[in-house]
Each structure stands twice: as C-alpha cells, then as structure tokens.
Amino acid sequence: MRVDEFLKERNINVGDFVRITKEEDGEEVTYEGYIMPPYELSAGDTLVLKLENGYNIGIALEKIRRIEVLERAKVKPEVHFEALIEGKPGLPEVTIIGTGGTIASRIDYETGAVYPAFTAEELAKAVPEIFEVANVKPKLLFNIFSEDMKPKHWVKIAHEVAKALNSGDYGVVVAHGTDTMGYTAAALSFMLRNLGKPVVLVGAQRSSDRPSSDAAMNLICSVRMATSEVAEVMVVMHGETGDTYCLAHRGTKVRKMHTSRRDAFRSINDVPIAKIWPNGEIEFLRKDYRKRSDEEVEVDDKIEEKVALVKVYPGISSEIIDFLVDKGYKGIVIEGTGLGHTPNDIIPSIERAVEEGVAVCMTSQCIYGRVNLNVYSTGRKLLKAGVIPCEDMLPETAYVKLMWVLGHTQNLEEVRKMMLTNYAGEITPYTRFDTYLR
C-alpha cells in the first residue's frame, strides 16, 4: 500500500502529531512525531515521521500496528513579504530579474522545502548588503530550471533587460540557473545592440538554503558589477573555491567547466574582464571593455530556431547530418575534433547540406584554442565543402550566434560574413598565451 492511501484510509493528515506502534522483529516500538509528506525518492511504502528532536525516520507501513492522532496539524500562518524597502537617495537603481534557480531563498525547516525569495524585503533580509550598493528592484520574470530554458526565454529576458535599462536603471542583474547560463549570456550579448550599461548574469552552485552557499557573495559582486562602467553582458560567479572574489566573464567567452564547484565558470580563450571583491573593490584585468554610455539599448531578437549543435566522435554516421537536412534545419554547428575535423566519410553529407543551403559552422571539442582547417587535408576538404570555420568561438556561442545570424539572413555568403564578424567579443583576434586552463 502507498503512504497516501494509508493515511487517507485512516483520516490522518500531513502535519498531524501521532503515536505509532510498530512491530519490529517480534517486539513493539513506539514513536511519537509529526507526519511528513512522502519524499520524492522514498520507496513509497514508508511513512516519514519527524520526531520531536527534529530527526526524520522512515517506518515501513506493513509493520505499523497502531496509529493514533494525538494532535491535529496546525494551520501554518502564511508568510507574506511586502515590498516595502525604501530606496536610499543617491544610490543607483538596479533591477534584478529572476528567471529561476534559487539565488535567494528561504527554507521550511520541517519539510526542507526551499522557496525562492524574490520580493525586495525577502532579498533585503537574505542579502542586506546589496541594498547598500544600489536601490535593488527585484522582478520575477519566470521560474524555470535552466535546463528547460529555450530560445524564446532568451528573447523574453532580452526585452525585460532592455525595458529596465531604457527606463533609467543603472544596470541589470539576471539571476539564472547555472547549467545553461553560458548560452543565455551569449544570446543576450548578440540580441542587446548598442548596449550602454552593464548586464550581469549570476547564479549559485550551492543552493542558498545552506550557510555555505555561494549565492550571497555572487549576488553582492554582481550588483557591484551592475553599477560599474562596463557596458557588456557578463557572467559574475566565484573566481576560486574560497569566498574571496568573483570574476566577471565576457558573456560570449564563458563556459561552465565543472559540474559542481563554485568556481565552475571560466573564461575560455580569453581573459576575464575583472575581479570583484565583495567589499566593492574591482580590479580590471583588461582595458578593452565597452564603456558605459547614454545609448538606448535595442533588442534585435530575430532568431532562427532550426539550428543544431552536433558533436563529432569516432564512428559518427553521416545519417545524423542527413537527418537534420531532411528535417529542414537551417544551420548546423559542428563540434569537430582537434583543429576542426570530421571523419572523411561524413564530408559528402556536409557537402550536400551546404548545397541545400544549410549553414555549417566548425568549432572544436577541444574547447581551448582556435580552429584551423588549412593544416590537414580533411580540413581543406571541409573548407571546400563550404564549412565556415568559427575561429576561437565556443561551440555553444557559435550555436547561439548562428541562430541569431540566420534570423537576419539565410544567404550563405552573408551568413559566412556575419559569423566571422566580431559582434560581442566572441572572436579574439589572436590567441593569448595566458588564456589556457586558468
């Protein structure tokens, strides 16, 4: 029997204080505690009880002999947070756009459930430091996991950012789940034209319900960066494992390089823009960033969604390319091996794709370094087939960029020209020695 049926049959509710007697190996054991909602990962035939000492335990339903309700569940007062934070005169206005992920949250100590905190008051309570830097206005746009983020969400975020900036905000922070934050950063980098103010994406690798969370420091540093002179799309996250400083990465050159570390985000083939300490100190690591200006930002949100990102591997079949072409895809970004190669036997399929007007772009699965299709004969064949070599662009950035480019033109010559034009720092002119694995 399942827990929900078991409870329903006995008219017992989650939160009731009960006394349970179970039979364990011929002996009786009695527990007193609160009925907890079943866990997602529990076997389903176990009743979870919160004992008075705060511990949870699981009791097998089939062993329960008696259960009596000692006290009915109390209705918990709902907690309302009013957005009553008064702005301090003289501080810059910064909007924080929430898209999901729990950058700030509060926790139900009974169930362990985590609620996103997104009113100003909640944020002020969780991370009061940010209100000393700016008049922060939280805005919850949507609440989804970053793995569920789709190109249409990028467009929504871009418009929300533009709206805030053009209505006088000094900068904008976008709170985002970390898994696909790099893609969103790249998308915003291409869509926000004439950007005159900082746009900062921020997330957390440790959820904010734990005292060791990286969320608060990341948020503090991102608000600092949003009030800086850098008019670019950036990702601001921990710079190292310690809670010492954050790094601001250029939105087109940043990649999540670790599944779990708090310093997972790294600039690839490029130097981060700045180091930010939570006390407000900013150390610029380069001078060539776009400076703050009065320009009104425009959203150029034309994108073509029929684009695929394909990783090459030994044994890859040309069927995969054929399938995409047959399905009407307009662009394919290949994550090739080494300098930008595919097995020779799939080149005919690539040739066919190009002939049918599909833009095929080449990046490298090495992640670090620049593609070069002139060195080996395979590369030369791919070039001849019409593949566009994407310099030192990240595969994910090239994928987002190709969507955006194809939203503007599907003429392959035009596409080639645009793919090789540097719009948002996605291509570096030459490869610096100090940009590898750091």
């Binding site: 511990y55 699981g58 969780a126 734990r210 005292p211 809670d243 779990s260």
Partner: protein, 633 residues
C-alpha cells in the same frame, strides 16, 4: 552491588545524569570514499564564510547575522588524499558508507535498540565553521535501546550515525583555522535517558556502551576518537552539559564534583538572598581606579598601565566573602567569574583574595573607599585596554547576577582533575532540516536479520569464554580483551599455540617491553611469524622477547630475519650435546667430585651459552644423562 560510602545522598538530591557518547568508526568517510585518517601534511588552503540562512518565516537569527557581519573567516587546510570536493562543499554528498551503516546497526543490536526502516539524513545547522557546509549531516539509525545496571535499566532513546567535524587548529581574532582530515569521519552517537541516578551507575553504563562499540572491531582507537559528554542536574540546580570526558574512571568523580558545585552555588544563592540582594542591584558602572595603582607592585597591573591600559572596578553589592568561597576543590565563585571573563582578559582580581599578587592592603582600601563599599560589598578589578576591560567586567556582572538566581545552565569542559570549567551557554534547540541530496535509505529486513544473527561477542562474554574454554587466568583474559589482542590470540591458538603461552606473550611480554621500545611497531604479522617459528621448533619461547625488541626498532625486518641475525634460532640436539660435553670437560674435576651434585653448576654454565637457542628442558635432560653416565658408569 558494591557497598561504599557516598559523599552525598544522591537519591535525596534528585541526581539525574544522561550520557552522550561519540565514537569514530574505522571505515571510509561517511559521504565519500575518502580514507578516514589524520595527517599533518597540508597541501592546500582555502577560505570561506558562513552565512546564517533564512528560516521559514523569512527570519535570520540577528545574533548569527551580527556574528557574520564581523567578518569572521574560516580557513581550511586540506590534503589531496584525505579530503575531496564533497568535504570542501564543492560536490554533493555520496554514500552513506555501507560499512559504517552496518557497524551502526551492529551497535544498535548490541545495545538492544530497534533500527528504523528507512534512514533519513538531516542537516543540523552549525555555523562555527567546523563543518564546511555550515551543517552536520546526521541520521537516526535506531531507537529504544536499553542498558541494564544494578541500579535499574537506562534507556538509549537514539543511536545516530553522523559525520565528525573538522579539527580546529587555531583560533584568531577574525579567523579560525580548521583542518579537513577529520571532517566526515563517521561518528556513532549514543545518548541515554537521564535515568542515571548514581555516579557509579554512569560509569557502568559508559563501560557497557564502550564494550559494545569495541566488540564491533570497527571503532577507531586513540586520543580524540571517543568523546563522552555528561548531562548532570540535581533538584533546584540546573542541567549542565559536561564535554570531553576521556577516561571512564573520571566519570563518577566528575559527577560527584558537579553535584558539589551545584550544591555550593545553591548555598551561595541562599546566602545572597538572605542578605537581600537582587540581580538588578548589580549595576553596570565602571570605576576607573587606574590612578590608585600608579605605583603598584603588581607586575601585571603595572605592565597594563604602562601600555596605556586602565584598571576598572565594579561593585558587587553584598558579595563580600562569597566570591572567595570554594565550590569545587581549588575553585571558587571567583574562578567562575574569571572563566567568563577569559574571552577578553587573562584574569580578574576580587576583594576576597586581596591583598595578594603584589596588590597592597593600602590599594585595596583605596578602592573600597572610591567605590564606597560597605562591609558586605565586594569589588572586582580588571586591568586591560579599556574596551576589553569593560567587556570582561560585563561578563562578571552577568555571572554575578546569575549567582543570585542559582545555577546557570551551561556547557562546561571537563578538566583533568575532575573539575569543570565554563565553555559556552547551552546550545539552543538544533535547527534541522532534511538533507535532500541524499535519498532515503531503506534498511531491508534481511540485512537486519543477517546483522542480528552475526553479532560480535561482547567483551565480557569473551573474557568468560577464555577463562572457561582456555583455562586462562581471569586478569590475563581481561587484559587480552581490553588491549584488543583477542582476535590475534584466537588465531594463534588455532595455529596450535598453547593458549597460556599465546596469552602471556601477547600480554606480559609485549606490554613489558613498552617502556623500552616502541612496541606499537610490532605488527600482527610479526607476531604471527614469530609464533610460526616457535611452532616449527626453530626458536625457543625465551627468544620472543629479544625478537620483538628488535622488531620494534626495525619494523621493516621479518621475525625470521631477526631470529637469524641475532642467533636466536635453536641449536640442534647434537650441537647442544656438544656444548654440554665441552662444559663438563672444562669442569671435570667438580663433576667427578660431586657427581649428580654438579647438576646445578653445569646447568648454569650451559644455559649461559645457549639461552634462547635451546629449550631448557632439553638441556636439563641431556645434562642429567651425561652426568649419570660419568658418575654412574
């Protein structure tokens, strides 16, 4: 039950004691398969801060936030092999370690407890930095255990399996340094109900639990691997948590001393009440008396003044004579004041102990005059930098006010002599919430059954068995078990070694060498090999001592190598006979004169040459035969 005279009538006093015993398990770390060893090798460090989290009501504990804002930084020292991303809070937890869980279940059954059906790990918030994550992961494995004692049964409400905290290395003003090696070592936590009503009963319970833990052979040994805490209260007193009791024998002493402390504090309270003083009568007024001590002979005070510090005094109305009153041997109410002030200053001075420490009667009189003290009033002095002195005196004021109320609830630290000193206020109710990264773990009934049917023998049962089965002397058997040599002992016996010999070598010989050589270097493998040589007739039992001595110094050698190098391998019968004949020839006059009467002399001279290389019994047989040949034939 032992008849003894108790210092107090504990029943009348309403003594209640509960135990909490923590012991490290000798398995991998609890939530990642990292070896659970300690090391002084530091290969990297990193720093973190811990932020108080919002409760469900969206509240952050203001005190915790205040603490956080002070900017305390935690520095963690790591070793690449003994920690990993899980224990840097850079990766979600794995586990829990199966072996640790099974040991916990064994312990549960040995303590008559009932395991839960599904284990739920909880996060217990701890933001002193000792856990990198800011919480300790802990779960109840079993409930409802019981220990029988001659005074009655004592309940074991919970048995938990949790992770140990990081080791504190150094505490600085704004920075605390921890080492990560200890973090994550599985810790079994056993708590009893406060049903212990006699100090000796506490020891019996602790011994029984300790025996059950040792029976598993999977608990760590050595300093710091076991932590026994006591909760002690008497009627009218308060619950005092005493941390860090290392030795079993100290338990009754510490309880007795705590009862004494609480009784004396209650007497002081009654006296203060009789004198009619109320907590609010103690005012937070600091008197600057630096000028009185300008030419003082007190070196401590002079040094402080020279450095620009101040001497501040407070008035404690009606406390005269009570601050100096002894509450535990060698500790006074004043000591309790000083313990509290320790956070800010090394020490305080109070009127009941002055003049002393270079402070003159004249200076005391001037302070009395300045503070306008009556006969019954007291003062406390602190010499330090002004802000520190004030903070220290605030602590004294707080403790003095508590003295009027009775016994303050506290966490205290056990001292080696059985006394205790203040550590911190009692912890509040733990904030716990589920560890959602670890799925609930069902304990299948067949696993429970398997563990229950294969429980290890408890140490006391083992001692009884050795006495009965192997006819060992009881104290020898007890030592074998206490030293955890029992497993090796049984192995040797099954190899064919006589039980009495195995036991006496393992206990008497090895222990006897402890003062001379680092005997812990002698491994079980060494011992096994030495006995193998003995069984093969290659060495005499007299050679064990010499072999172990050498092995302790050179543990990389084998017992065989040592026996050969040191010439401890036995002589053949022919060689022994040849040596005996030689000795007889050298003493032929005596032999001829005394006949069999020369037996002692010849034996002595032969043994001097062959000791450790020949069996004494064999030697004596040959000597006897040879002498008989000469004298008789």
């Amino acid at each position: 039950m032992m008849v003894m005279t108790d210092k107090f009538n504990y029943e009348e006093l309403g003594l209640k004691v509960g135990l909490e015993i923590h012991r490290q398990l000798d398995t991998k770390k609890l939530f990642s398969p990292v070896p659970s060893e300690l090391s002084d090798k530091v290969e990297f460090t990193f720093q973190r801060r811990l932020r108080p989290t919002m409760s469900e009501l969206g509240e952050i504990d203001p005190a915790a936030l205040e603490e956080f804002k002070k900017g305390r930084v935690y520095v963690y020292e790591g070793n690449y092999e003994l920690t990993d991303l899980v224990y840097m809070d850079e990766e979600p937890p794995r586990g829990p370690d199966r072996e640790a869980l099974e040991v916990a279940l064994q312990i549960a059954y040995l303590l008559n407890a009932k395991p839960v059906d599904e284990v739920y790990y909880m996060r217990k918030i701890v933001i002193d930095g000792s856990n990198v994550s800011g919480f300790q992961r802990t779960a109840i494995i079993a409930t409802d255990g019981k220990v029988e004692t001659p005074w009655g049964a004592v309940g074991i409400p919970t048995i938990c399996l949790e992770e140990d905290a990081a080791r504190i290395i150094e505490r600085k003003d704004k920075e605390v340094i921890y080492r990560l090696d200890r973090l994550g070592i599985p810790l079994i936590e056993i708590s009893t109900t406060p049903d212990i009503h006699h100090p000796e009963q506490a020891k019996v319970v602790a011994k029984f639990i300790g025996d059950a833990l040792r029976a598993t052979k999977k608990v760590k040994r050595g300093l710091g691997t076991i932590r026994q805490d006591l909760n002690v209260s008497i009627k009218g007193g308060a619950r005092i948590e005493i941390k860090g009791v290392q030795e079993l024998d100290m338990i009754p002493i510490i309880i007795e001393r705590e009862v004494e402390r609480q009784l004396n504090l209650l007497k002081i309270r009654d006296e203060l009440r009789k004198r009619g003083v109320k907590p609010k009568d103690i005012k937070e007024e600091f008197y600057d008396v630096t000028d009185i001590f300008e030419n003082t002979k007190s070196k401590i005070i002079a040094r402080v003044i020279k450095k620009g510090g101040k001497v501040l005094a407070i008035k404690l109305p009606k406390f005269r004579g009570l601050i100096g009153r002894e509450i535990q041997p060698g500790r006074r109410l004043g000591t309790e004041f000083a313990d509290r002030a320790k956070k800010y200053v090394p020490g305080i001075f109070h009127i009941d102990e002055l003049p002393n420490y270079g402070i003159s009667q004249e200076e005391v009189n001037k302070v009395i005059e300045r503070l306008n003290l009556s006969e019954e009033d007291a003062f406390v002095l602190v010499a330090a930098e002004e802000e520190k002195a004030k903070n220290a005196l605030r602590e004294v004021i707080k403790r003095a006010r508590e003295a009027i109320e009775g016994v303050p609830e506290e966490t205290r630290r056990a001292l080696p002599d059985g006394n205790t000193e203040y550590m911190r206020p009692l912890p509040g109710k733990a904030r716990m919430y589920p560890e959602t990264d670890i799925p609930p773990l069902r304990i299948p009934d067949d696993l429970k059954k398997k563990i229950k049917e294969n429980l290890p023998e408890l140490p006391q049962a083992k001692v009884e068995r050795y006495v009965k089965e192997y006819k060992l002397d009881r104290s020898l058997a007890q030592t074998l078990v206490d030293d955890e040599r029992d497993e090796l002992f049984e192995e040797l016996v099954s190899m064919g070694v006589k039980p009495s010999l195995a036991a006496s070598i393992l206990v008497v010989v090895l222990k006897g060498l402890r003062k001379e050589v680092p005997i812990e270097n002698v491994t079980d493998e060494h011992i096994r090999e030495a006995f193998q040589l003995y069984l093969e007739g290659k060495i005499a039992k007299e050679a064990f001592e010499e072999i172990f001595k050498e092995l302790a110094r050179n543990p990389s050698k084998s017992a065989r190598e040592v026996a050969e190098e040191k010439g401890l391998t036995l002589l053949s019968e022919e060689e022994v006979t040849r040596i005996i004949e030689e000795v007889i020839q050298q003493n032929i006059e005596v032999v001829k004169a005394k006949g069999m009467g020369a037996m002692g002399l010849i034996m002595g001279r032969v043994m001097a040459k062959v000791r450790g290389k020949a069996d004494g019994k064999l030697v004596s047989q040959i000597v006897r035969r040879k002498l008989q040949e000469i004298s008789g034939g």
